[in-house]
Structures are given as C-alpha cells and as structure tokens.
C-alpha cells in the first residue's frame, strides 16, 4: 500500500515537473511573437486587432472599423516629451491626407486618462484617439517605448517599418514620408 502511494506521488511529481517544463518551453517559443518583430523579419504581418475606449469622445473604437483605409498608428502618452513634439506633425499628416482616406489613429498607453485628454486638447490633436491605460496592445505590437509608429495598409497588414522615437526627428523624417506614400499606395 505504502509502495503504491509512493509510486503515485513520484508519478505526480514527475507530471508536475514535466508540465512546468512544457510551460517554460511554450513561453520561450511564443513570447517573441509580436508584430514589430515579424515586420522586421519581412513577414506579412496582420496588424493585431484591438477594441479600446475612445479618448476624444465617448464609446469604443476598434481597429477593424478602419479596414479598407490606410492607417498611421501612433503609440503615445502624455508624459512623453517627444510625443508632444511630434503631435503637430501627425496632425498635419491627418489634415493633409484624410481626403485620400488615410487615418491617423493615436493609441494612448500607460497614462492617466485626464492628463491624456488635457494633452490632446492642448496639442490640438483632432485625429481619432483611443485609450489603453493597462498597455495591453504593447505586447501584441511589440512596442518598446513611446512614441512608436506603425503603418497599416488597406488590407489590414502592416507595411513599411515600425518607426521608433518621434516621426519629426531628423532620423525618422524622410522614412516617415516614404512610409506614408507606401501605405497610401498599398
């Protein structure tokens, strides 16, 4: 009886260790699967979907609502200084290309909602804004900091490249203009 109990305990311990090991392997294999990484590897990557509360008006907004339109997807926060500097550039792009169907969509992350609203008003951001306080979209997109900008084609796939740091900066300015043309043409 004691022998059988001991065997059962050993089997249980072995199963537990195997399960934990499998969980570790699964985590290591899947943790790097994010949109930015796949885009860098040249893979055709669908933009991860989301449905978030709007910051600029009541209600919710999903990325799918803009399917069929080119999107400049910008991750920002009110505590981010470069975000303040690039906001007028994004506003300019929104006003210039919206007649061609382009949407600039701002995703406010890890932010105090009231501060984000104040920031948007102060910086006259008239393009659609959504609020992701917990930052759930960061993992899917592989966002490493703010600001970061992605480009979503009409078919819902990511194109061009992920631009890290402000799009107004010299290092990004030309590439940003190229990506806008690419996403409009895609």
């Amino acid at each position: 009886m004691a022998g059988r109990l001991k065997l059962a305990a050993q089997v249980l311990a072995l199963a537990l260790v195997t399960g934990l090991f499998a969980l570790l392997v699964w985590k290591v294999v899947t943790q790097n699967d994010n949109a930015a990484k796949e885009l860098e590897q040249g893979k055709v990557t669908p933009a991860p979907t989301f449905r978030l509360a709007r910051l600029d008006e009541p209600g919710k907004l999903s990325l799918a609502a803009y399917h069929g339109r080119p999107i400049v997807l910008n991750f920002w926060a009110s505590w981010c200084i470069p975000c303040k500097e690039e906001a007028p550039v994004l506003e300019q792009v929104w006003n210039r290309y919206r007649r061609q169907g382009l949407v600039v969509l701002g995703v406010d992350i890890n932010d105090v909602r009231s501060e984000a609203r104040r920031f948007a008003t102060k910086n006259r951001m008239s393009y659609p804004l959504v609020y992701d306080g917990p930052g759930n979209t960061l993992t899917d997109y592989g966002v490493e900091g703010v600001p970061e900008t992605f480009f979503v084609a009409r078919n819902g796939k990511l194109v061009c490249e992920r631009l890290q740091a402000g799009v107004h900066l010299k290092v990004n300015r030309d590439r940003f203009a190229e990506c806008i043309q690419e996403v409009l043409a895609a």
Partner: protein, 150 residues
C-alpha cells in the same frame, strides 16, 4: 457644559471622516507603476509621477482609499494594485500560499512521526548502523586485545 457636548459631538463626527482619508505615502506603497513594475514609492518614472500627482489631488479631496483604487484599476487594470483584490479568482493568490504552507507542515509532521516511530531492523542498532561482527572474529579480536591488556 454645552461647549463640551458640542466639542464631543464634533470630535465624534470628525473622527471617522479623518480616519477615512488615506495618505499619499500609504497609497504609493499599495499601487504599482504600470511601466516599471515596482510600487509607486520606489519609482520616479514619468507615469509614476503623474499617478502620484493624481493621488495627491484625490487625497486632498479626502476620497476614500477604495474609491481611488477603483478609479486607477478602471484606467490601468488590476495590475496597478500591488496586492491582488480579495474577491473572485484573485482569492487564489491569497489562499494558495496558505494551502502550500499547511500542506508542507502536514507532510513534514507525518514524516517526522513516521521516522520517530519506525523500529530499526534487529542487530542494526547494536552495531551502530554497521553489519554485526562474525562471532568467531569477535572472539579472536577479544583474545588479541586481551594480550595487550596483560
């Protein structure tokens, strides 16, 4: 006398209200910075500073602690709480360590009881855990030792 009664009533009314007002340092230890994953009191990141400023405003308005926490959970999700809430699925986080401790204590108690109540095999105790000596060898050994004694 009337003054004393009024003062006592005022104190009685003010007492619970004052107790309900949380403090910023206390809240900072119970809330997490969403970007750095440490408690707010250990963080000086931009978002932590924003949340601290929000806390200061809410505390100044004497908003109850739970309401402040609820407001922050609505914005940043349950991960903003340093300790999981005591409700629903989150109870597991509180109960599992206790279950583990009680389980470990039980297992250790059973093992100790068994070890202390198990009789050693015959002959083992007398020979200090080693195999007993052959009687013939023991007799010869005694004889040899007796020579040295003489």
């Amino acid at each position: 006398m009337r003054v004393l009664v009024v003062a006592a009533v005022a104190l009685a009314l003010a007492g619970p209200a004052a107790a309900a007002c949380p403090t910023v340092p206390d809240l900072e230890g119970k809330l997490m910075c969403p970007t750095c994953k440490t408690t707010l009191d250990q963080s000086d990141s931009p978002v932590a500073r924003r949340i601290k400023a929000l806390l200061a405003r809410r505390v100044a308005a004497c908003v109850p602690e739970q309401k402040i926490k609820d407001e922050l959970v609505a914005q940043f999700g349950p991960a903003v709480l340093a300790a999981p809430p005591r409700k629903g699925f989150h109870w597991l986080a509180w109960l599992l360590p206790l279950v583990g401790l009680v389980g470990a204590a039980l297992v250790i108690s059973v093992l100790v009881w068994r070890w202390s109540h198990t009789k050693p095999p015959e002959g083992v105790a007398e020979s200090n855990g080693r195999a007993p000596l052959d009687p013939e060898l023991e007799r010869r050994l005694d004889k040899e030792l007796a020579r040295f004694d003489g």
